[in-house]
Symmetry: none
């Protein structure tokens, strides 16, 4: 209904939710006010409240139970990621460290996937395999993101995304035929569960990207 700031409403609501959680001292695992209460309290429509809540849910910050309510995600605090991001934003001039850490996350994700049958057999790998043929640039980050997501470690995903936000950029060239082959080897290895081959393919890939730029 209002919102002086010209910013996105649902982002404003996210902020207000944070304040609300702080002031009312809602701890992880505890219940948040219902959507309808929040509407009235924040003086906005329910859809806006829901957009904010759904965003936070996708981030894993809240948990929702149909008919039950909305709860602050479990687990203690300690501003791990906050400090992390401040570290990143200040830029320690060691881009190499950021890249190395990012690659560590990616390798680990690949390893986890290789070792888990159900993860290996996800349909996403097939569709990615096909996408590679269709030549595009997105595929690189998209593939890696899928790997991290599939690995199931949401903390790692969050860290990784920040690392990417910090360093991912150089990857702006076309995907060469050579690179395509490497990527397909990587995907095939993942699907077969050949961990070492997958890692090797990944390393090849990264090396290949470095030589380009």
């Amino acid at each position: 209904m209002e919102q002086k700031q010209s910013k996105k409403m649902f982002v404003q609501i996210v902020k207000q939710l944070r304040e609300l959680i702080a002031t009312q001292q809602i701890k992880p695992g505890e219940k948040l006010p219902s959507e309808r209460v929040l509407c009235e309290q924040l003086n906005v429509g329910r859809s806006s409240v829901r957009e904010a809540l759904r965003s936070l849910e996708l981030l894993g910050l809240i948990e929702t139970r149909h008919g039950g309510g909305t709860f602050l995600a479990d687990v203690g605090q300690h501003k791990l990621v906050e400090i992390l991001s401040s570290f990143i934003l200040q830029g320690t001039k060691s881009v190499d460290d950021v890249n190395a850490t990012r690659e560590m996350h990616e390798r680990e994700a690949i390893r986890i996937i290789c070792r888990n049958d159900s993860l290996r057999n996800l349909p996403i790998w097939d569709s990615l395999f096909i996408s590679i043929e269709l030549q595009d640039e997105v595929i690189r980050e998209y593939l890696l993101r899928e790997c991290i997501i599939a690995s199931g470690n949401r903390l790692a995903l969050k860290i990784w995304m920040q690392l990417v936000a910090y360093s991912m950029n150089i990857l702006k060239n076309y995907v060469t035929e050579e690179e395509k082959e490497v990527l397909q080897v990587l995907l095939k290895s993942i699907q077969m569960g050949y961990e070492e081959e997958a890692i090797e393919a990944y390393d090849d890939w990264m090396h290949h990207l470095q030589t380009i730029t």
Copy 2:
């Protein structure tokens, strides 16, 4: 309107959006179908589509221009970082994720050390080897810290310290004879540069710690 899967609708839509982006080869910076088109195309209500889009927007994966349209994010913008981090202080998902991430750092450090002759030959390993005979509890984190430090990635060290501070708990028992042996195998493997054996020893170690608690 439907959505066979029992999962959250907006998550389903996120998935379908991913597929759509893949199949239609939408590249960063390019435009996505309008919300109203997506409604009809996916056969769902506009609110559901918006909940999915807003989630992706908060993640920084898409960009929205009022009156203009929705676009696949161009790499580089990271409001994600602030929003995420400022809210993340409520804690991320599970302790498991923190531990898994911590272990990833530790394994990676071990690998790096194994592959680098000068790191392998650091005198610290010998002194640690001896210390194991004497010390009792401190040695665990101390050994791991030395590994991370030796690996030379300062960002990783910073992250690791946060993770340890976050999940400091399990490491509170006495070091058994059995554990000492595992640790010595680990150190020996590191010194010899036997990467896989070192990782195996590390995994044994972690498994051993879990069975204790």
